[in-house]
């Protein structure tokens, strides 16, 4: 009887500690770090998406002397009976910057919401190490969010690889200059040729900048996708894998993301098109294959004029 009384606290302690073995703080830490890495990569991707959205309608940079000469020319072109206002002077100083319209606000909301989503997801696991065992259900619930956020990054990669950025104002500014040189009767043939060669170089550099922004944005979105997939896998297997397994999975994700660095656009485009297929075939993702994945996939692959309409409908 005395022996039984002595054994009881020890047995209770053993039972409690054995509960916590399956979901140790180390495993929780591996998951938390992977989620933070996912946020880091996604934030970089969102920064590039924002840069793309901004650059498409931004004016071509002008030198100080060019801007000053244009200001003088603008003011002198005003009719003598035109009232001068602050707005007109502002426009004479900078005629090309697009005035903030409804889309600037929409763009800011779009990227702010995205940043909030990925931050909220990573923050979910802030205290996981201290509750590694009892939070198993909560971890399981976070799986669908990891999947949705990963699919978003894959969708951005797909969208941008299909519809590359266009620096619209830069293009039209150069087209205007090329046309001006072409039609300028006061220039000699040699001067025209010299100026056109310079403009050709600038045109090619501009196109290269467009391609590089497309490439780097697709690359970064795919890196976030790769990390996000592994986070989804870590969540799915949180209760079953060993710490070593988790560390191997995390390292594998980082390696896979690293392999994307510097890939050319063609390679990234192939990878982007392939990513939905791989996700669909992955058993971990099967629970979203018929819902969110299908929705995104349909939107991205929607073809033909008869299938138009609001995707929200």
């Amino acid at each position: 009887m005395k022996l039984h009384a002595r054994s009881l606290p020890l047995c209770a302690a053993l039972v409690l500690s054995s509960f916590f073995v399956s979901c140790t703080p180390e495993k929780a830490r591996a998951l938390r770090i992977a989620a933070v890495q996912f946020r880091v990569e996604a934030m970089k991707a969102i920064d590039l998406v924002e840069q793309l959205l901004t650059k498409e309608t931004s004016p071509r940079p002008r030198g100080e002397s060019e801007a000053a000469e244009e200001f003088a020319r603008n003011i002198l072109q005003l009719k003598s009976d035109t009232d001068l206002s602050e707005d007109k002077v502002d426009l004479a100083v900078d005629p090309y910057t697009v005035q903030p319209g409804s889309q600037q606000k929409a763009r800011e909301e779009f990227v702010t919401n995205l940043r909030r989503q990925y931050s909220a997801f990573a923050a979910t696991f802030d205290e996981l190490e201290g509750g590694s065992y009892l939070a198993r259900d909560a971890v399981r619930k976070s799986g669908s969010h990891a999947q949705n956020l990963t699919l978003q990054m894959a969708a951005f990669a797909e969208s941008i690889s299909q519809d590359p950025p266009q620096f619209l104002q830069y293009r039209s500014a150069l087209m205007d200059e090329i046309d001006s040189v072409r039609k300028n009767a006061s220039l000699s043939s040699e001067d025209k040729t010299r100026r056109l060669i310079k403009l050709k170089e600038e045109w090619e550099a501009m196109k290269q900048s467009e391609r590089e922004l497309q490439r780097s944005t697709v690359e970064q979105c795919l890196k976030a996708t790769v990390i996000g997939r592994e986070v989804g896998r870590l969540i799915d297997t949180y209760e079953h894998l060993s710490v070593d397994d988790l560390n191997v999975l995390t390292a594998r994700a980082l390696d896979a993301a690293g392999e994307l660095t510097g890939k050319d656009l063609q390679g990234l485009t192939v990878r982007s098109a392939d990513v939905f297929l791989r996700i669909r075939e992955d058993p971990v993702w099967s629970n979203v294959a018929d819902s969110a994945l299908t929705t995104v996939n349909q939107e991205l692959r929607r073809k033909g004029p008869d299938t138009g309409g609001n995707p929200q409908e």
Partner: protein, 98 residues
């Protein structure tokens, strides 16, 4: 090419055309053209945003759910720390009783 991508390219052409007209105009004409030109660029941005928004599936409700899960994990941490402390206390008792 899907509809939305067609819209994007169509608006891009329109924006380029009006911007070329704007750049070639004198300043008085620029004053008159500025609003229409800016609206066309705004329409392009809208078309680009629409393409990107098609991939967005995470909602406000999801963000609230993530906050709820975070709170649940916080509660689990507190409970687990109590249980661990209890376990240590019981182990201590067992050691003392032995």
């Amino acid at each position: 090419m899907d509809n939305d991508a067609e819209v994007l390219n169509h608006v891009a052409s329109a924006a380029t055309a009006i911007d070329l007209k704007y750049r070639r105009a004198d300043f008085e004409s620029k004053l008159a053209l500025k609003d229409d030109r800016d609206k066309t660029f705004d329409a392009y941005s809208k078309a680009r945003m629409k393409l990107l928004e098609e991939g967005v599936i995470c909602t406000e409700k999801d963000v609230r759910e993530m906050a709820d899960i975070r709170a649940e994990i916080g509660r689990a941490r507190k409970t687990q720390s109590i249980l661990v402390a209890t376990g240590r206390f019981l182990a201590f008792l067992a050691k003392v009783a032995a």
